[in-house]
């Protein structure tokens, strides 16, 4: 092959289109360089460098938001591997916010541990960049490579506090379950590739891993057995990432053992990536909508019931928040099913819910980071007694976060649930809707049990006050960030108009 042909093939490799991801990658390398160059006393600058870099990239993405999002025809980049569109831009903003918040929590949490610092922020940057590529991918090869980069990064982050036995246990469990889910996903992709690449079938393609080609093939071959098995396996692989029943078994142990900022990253970033993938794949698998709806419908109902019922008896707040996160995955699955039924605003509702979940979850995880002692895995509910009296600011943030997660009216979580339920109602998913309402009612019990522990239990009782680890005082940056999260939850709840208008124009 001569050079001009090669140039022709590579003509769509426009690196400027993935500028934010490139900057993050270079920043991650620069952090490692800085650690070598800077004197030891100034190593505290490295996290600040990472957070400022993320914020700068976020501003740049926001500044260029409309040039990409409002393009009439999404451009084909890297030979069809990437397709940046409005949805991709919104999720890029989402993951950059997640990266900033995880880094801020990381600064607070790592101060209590004897672990290396720089590598944590390096990994957060690389994972953020990979997540951003993942949601723009339009091809199974790109999807898988980006997803594996995210997953490998999480293997390390989960077992990051390696002197803690629970963290190592969590890392091992996540490694095994994650490899299994990657294997399922890969097997599904291979079956789809084999079916869509078979020259004897109509609408077969030479590049069957591209989403457009696969969609055309599936539309031309309804009822192909191999494709159906492939679709179910791909959905199973993604269900592992979002923690939907029956692929939720890793959640409580991994969430408990991982350092709190990493738990937050898993709960918000990894879950949002799974749902972004599901929304993309739901569009690709649309010709097999009855199959996909049946699989996701059963999963959603089981996920909501399991998550809420299992969270009822938890006394460790990390396990509690993990299992409640399972139930949130169930509500979001209902939104995905509504999108499959052709509800035009259902994808926007899912993304709005994810943003509400981001604000509320990080508020709660932020408080958890401050209340936790040196042993990060051991965070009993009793450690929160009297928080309202000793730390009114933290307790308020906690109450707003938990209220939003429970779906209490003036907060963002309520609007998110309302939108998803309206979409489900219009899609005539009455059975799922009933299950979801039951789930919400159950969830109020354990969320308010936590709030009750913080505000209404006797703070002067010496028995509970004795063995409790010292609470970290809230620093300036962390205080501003927590305040921003509360304000965001309130703003999205009271006045969701502009954000909704932007999101509902998704399709």
């Amino acid at each position: 092959m001569d050079p001009t042909t090669l140039q022709g093939i590579a003509a769509t490799n426009q690196w400027s289109a993935i500028g934010p991801e490139l900057v993050l990658g270079c920043l991650a390398l620069a952090l490692l360089g800085l650690e070598l160059v800077l004197p030891k006393r100034q190593h505290d600058l490295i996290p600040a460098f990472a957070i400022l870099g993320l914020a700068g990239v976020l501003l740049a993405v926001l500044a260029g938001f409309h040039t990409v999002a409002d393009a009439a025809e999404p451009p084909v980049l890297f030979g069809g591997l990437l397709q940046p569109d409005r949805f991709g831009q919104i999720m890029r903003v989402f993951f950059l916010l997640t990266g900033i918040l995880v880094s801020v929590l990381g600064v607070v949490a790592l101060a209590k541990q004897r672990v290396p610092r720089t590598e944590f922020f390096h990994l957060v940057l690389v994972i953020t960049a990979a997540l951003m590529l993942l949601v723009q991918s339009h091809h199974f090869v790109m999807l898988f490579v980006a997803l594996e980069t995210v997953t490998v990064g999480f293997y390390i982050l989960v077992s990051y506090t390696r002197t803690n036995a629970r963290s190592l246990e969590a890392g091992l469990k996540y490694l095994i379950m994650g490899s299994l889910s990657s294997g399922l996903l890969l097997f599904g992709i291979v079956l789809l590739y084999g079916a869509a690449g078979s020259p004897a079938l109509p609408a077969h393609s030479a590049t069957p891993m591209g989403f457009d080609e696969l969609h055309a093939f599936l539309a031309a071959n309804p009822g192909n057995f191999l494709s159906a098995v492939g679709i179910v396996l791909v959905l199973a692989g993604v269900a592992f990432k979002i923690g939907a029943v029956p692929f939720q078994i890793w959640i409580p142990d991994v969430y408990q053992g991982a350092p709190t900022p990493v738990t937050a990253f898993l709960a918000v970033g990894s879950k949002a990536a799974g749902f972004a993938l599901l929304l993309k794949l739901a569009a690709v698998f649309a010709p097999y909508a009855p199959l996909v709806t049946a699989v996701l419908g059963v999963m959603a109902a089981a996920t909501i019931l399991f998550g809420n019922l299992a969270a009822l008896g938890q006394t460790n707040v990390k396990r509690l928040i993990g299992l409640s996160g399972v139930s949130h995955a169930g509500y979001l699955l209902i939104g995905v099913i509504a999108a499959l039924h052709g509800q035009p605003f259902a994808p926007g509702a899912v993304v709005f819910y994810l943003f509400g979940y981001l604000l509320a979850s990080f508020a709660v995880f932020g408080v958890m980071t401050h209340v936790a002692g040196p042993d990060d895995a051991d965070q009993p509910l009793s450690a929160y007694t009297g928080l309202g009296r000793s730390h009114p600011f933290l307790a308020t943030v906690l109450a707003v976060g938990l209220g939003s997660l429970a779906g209490i009216p003036p907060l963002a979580g309520f609007m998110g649930k309302l939108l998803i339920f309206v979409a489900a109602f219009q899609a005539r998913l009455y059975g799922l809707l009933a299950v979801a309402v039951v789930g919400v009612v159950i969830s109020i019990y354990y969320y308010f049990g936590w709030i009750q522990a913080a505000f209404f239990q006797d703070p002067l009782c010496p028995a509970t006050d004795e063995g409790r680890p010292a609470r970290t005082p809230v620093g300036l940056v962390a205080g501003i960030v927590l305040g921003f999260l509360v304000a965001g939850s309130l703003l999205l709840g009271f006045y969701p108009g502009p954000a909704l208008a932007d999101l509902l124009g998704l399709r």
Binding site: I9, G79, G373
Partner: protein, 200 residues
Amino acid sequence: MSALLFNFLAVFIVACAAGVVLNRNAVASALCLLLSLVGVAGLFVQLDAFLLAALLVFVYAGAVVALFLFIIMLLDMQGGDRKPFTGLTLAAGTLAFLLLAGGVFSFAAHARLPATPAPAQAAGASLQNYAELLFTTYLLPVEVVGFLLLIAMLGVIVLSKKFEPELEPGAGSQKPDVRSQMSDAGNRKPEGSQEIPNHP
């Protein structure tokens, strides 16, 4: 001829895979895995995917299984008096086997693709075809894989190196955690841990 060879390789691979599970000796299990991988490489040769066959032998049979052997010897896990099957694993295994058999049966019944003439040359057949694809269409994933390998390497260092902070951290060091000291003692493998990197 090719059908005969395929059948022979298929039986060989399954027999070796069964050997991995059934052997009591971990070293023998690893060697069975190696033979099974060689059999899979033989299947790739039958499909004219010589490059993949060679890579499989180099990377998996050569490096990965050798690493397994190193780890087995380091941890001294040979033999052991644990039974390979307890009642629970036997039940789970039987259930998994039945599910797998059902899956294979429904595949054989429903998933028959119409026969097609083999394509002229698959992308995996020659190094040149492979390289051209990697450096044009799939350039971006290759770059991302570079980062994946970087963080994997970084992770190995972070998780295996003993960290000694130069500056005293505030809260963490006041109350030494008994469990963390114990797990530190458990992780200490002074001479042995230096042997792994020497492997090519």
